[in-house]
Subunit: 306 residues, 2 copies
């Protein structure tokens, strides 16, 4: 009988799952809905049932399950706070092991396992230490040092979206503070900045609703106002990455999330501000685009148990 | 015959050395001058000769040497750049082993080993993950995660003195950038700020030469101008530590260096600004004073090989 691994990435609306071969090839992927009712107590049983269905279908053995959760996780697999899926504090590793009878289970924070996935099979391949920066609705961070996830004592390592980059900001961030990185360098931040200073000579002024993609398309089309917004986005982000380099000194920054679809143009602008801000001895870092997209989590999850 | 360990901390003017018992007690300490001539090539032979003298005196065996160097060090014991002592790139571990015939040799960056020392026997005891912040002429950082030194790929981890905290600064830092943390939150920074905005109603205005201690004494004596300078010092530092917490999430910050002699008053003010700046989930960190002073390095050096 063939042996398989399962990678799981739990999100607020759906749970991504992947079937991997014993040498780490992704064979198949699928999703199930996230049932957040009853303190999210159905989530692990739903996952276990889906794994069992797949095992029967393949007539094989599942020899390891890796699971990513949207919140801080301690080393023994206990989740501390997963507000998005209504979970209380409990040991995910133990509970999933009790349900499935499988002993080889790894549990990690979703941002950290995405970074692990990118190092293993994505934009971070060839590097041993990276910071994965995910530019989506917010700004997420996953840190890999010497091939291992850096999680911090409360799972707070890599919370780079809430680094204060502008002490003079008057608008309030979702975290309750003012001037956080993700108020500028996320998709939401780009749209906010674009709306705030809107100029009539910009292509954006003709749109009913503005998206981050509109702004990035405007940059490519040579729109000056879009470029100013983009420049602000990149200067805050490049400066923050310089700070991060002076704390953990990784080999590379890997940039992912929806905003990273802007590609090389994005890397170039971020790198420009990074170099202007970092101490000279650390200016020589690699910048790469993430490659696994939404699959980074299931890859990283499996990497934990392989 | 008794077995001993030697801890060595190489500085720009003197080399601190300590004799430790096999259970890690500091038995004796002494210093030798740092001979920087001939690309610093006499330094290791001077150290080896001093160790041999001590071994003969004690009629014992040296079973391990830990050595701290003022610059980045890779995992295999190669120094990359030690400008203070004129060293080229070479493998310190191998060379010292060749000279002394001792195989158990550890080499680390001086800021990192000081942090290791404080975790082992000083202000960081009881913690597994700390950031040691050394407030002296500059601002140094040593990071311990899970009991191990975090050094970074180029030895640049913990270079927190050069985090940009004020993008509007016009004065240039020693590193060539503007607005670095150590332009405000070091002894030098305190003096610089005090001189810049000097007011006649301050006790400082009567002094020919101002030191950081004068400013800190002024704070204790209720001098309002001194308090403003101190507040600026603490707000930049507290904000930077908040950023650092969001990158590595340690259990505690341990504050050392000459400025830390201001004691609890210092911790309280830094902590105030830390809490105002950090994301709520990470506000609950411990702040402690370093306890080993200049001996932190020799303790940490020995800890590497014990």
């Amino acid at each position: 009988m063939d042996k398989y691994y399962i990678g799981v990435d739990i999100g607020g609306t759906s749970i991504k799952m992947g079937l991997f071969s014993h040498i780490g090839e992704l064979l198949e992927k699928w999703e199930i809905p996230t049932n957040k009712e009853d303190e999210g107590s159905h989530i692990l049983t739903d996952i276990a049932a889906s794994i069992e269905d797949k095992r029967v279908e393949k007539d094989g053995n599942i020899i390891g399950i890796g699971i990513g959760v949207p919140g801080p996780v301690t080393d023994d697999g206990t989740v501390l706070k997963c507000v998005n899926i209504n979970w209380p504090v409990f040991n995910v590793k133990k509970k999933l092991s009790d349900i499935t009878g499988i002993g080889n289970i790894g549990v990690g924070n979703d941002a950290s396992i995405a970074a692990l996935g990118e190092v293993w099979k994505g934009g971070g391949r060839g590097f041993d230490s990276i910071v994965l920066v995910t530019l989506g609705t917010g700004v997420g961070g996953g840190i890999i040092i010497g091939g291992k996830m850096l999680t911090g004592v409360r799972g707070g390592a890599g919370e780079i979206g809430h680094i204060t980059v502008n002490p003079h900001e008057t608008a309030t961030c979702g975290c309750g503070r003012k001037g956080c990185l993700e108020q500028y360098s996320s998709a939401t931040g780009i749209v906010r900045m674009a709306k705030e200073g809107m100029r009539e000579d910009s292509c954006l002024s003709k749109l009913d609703e503005i998206t981050a993609k509109d702004v990035l398309d405007g940059v490519k089309a040579g729109d000056r106002y879009c470029d100013e917004v983009f420049d602000k986005f990149a200067s805050y982000l490049g400066g923050a990455l310089a700070t991060i380099a002076q704390v953990v000194d990784p080999e590379a920054f890997v940039i992912g999330g929806g905003v990273s679809k802007a590609g090389d143009m994005l890397l170039e602008r971020i790198e420009k501000y990074y170099r202007e801000s970092v101490m000279p001895a650390l200016s020589d870092k690699e910048f790469a685009l993430a490659q696994l997209g939404n699959d980074a989590g299931i890859y990283g999850a499996v990497r934990m148990v392989l």
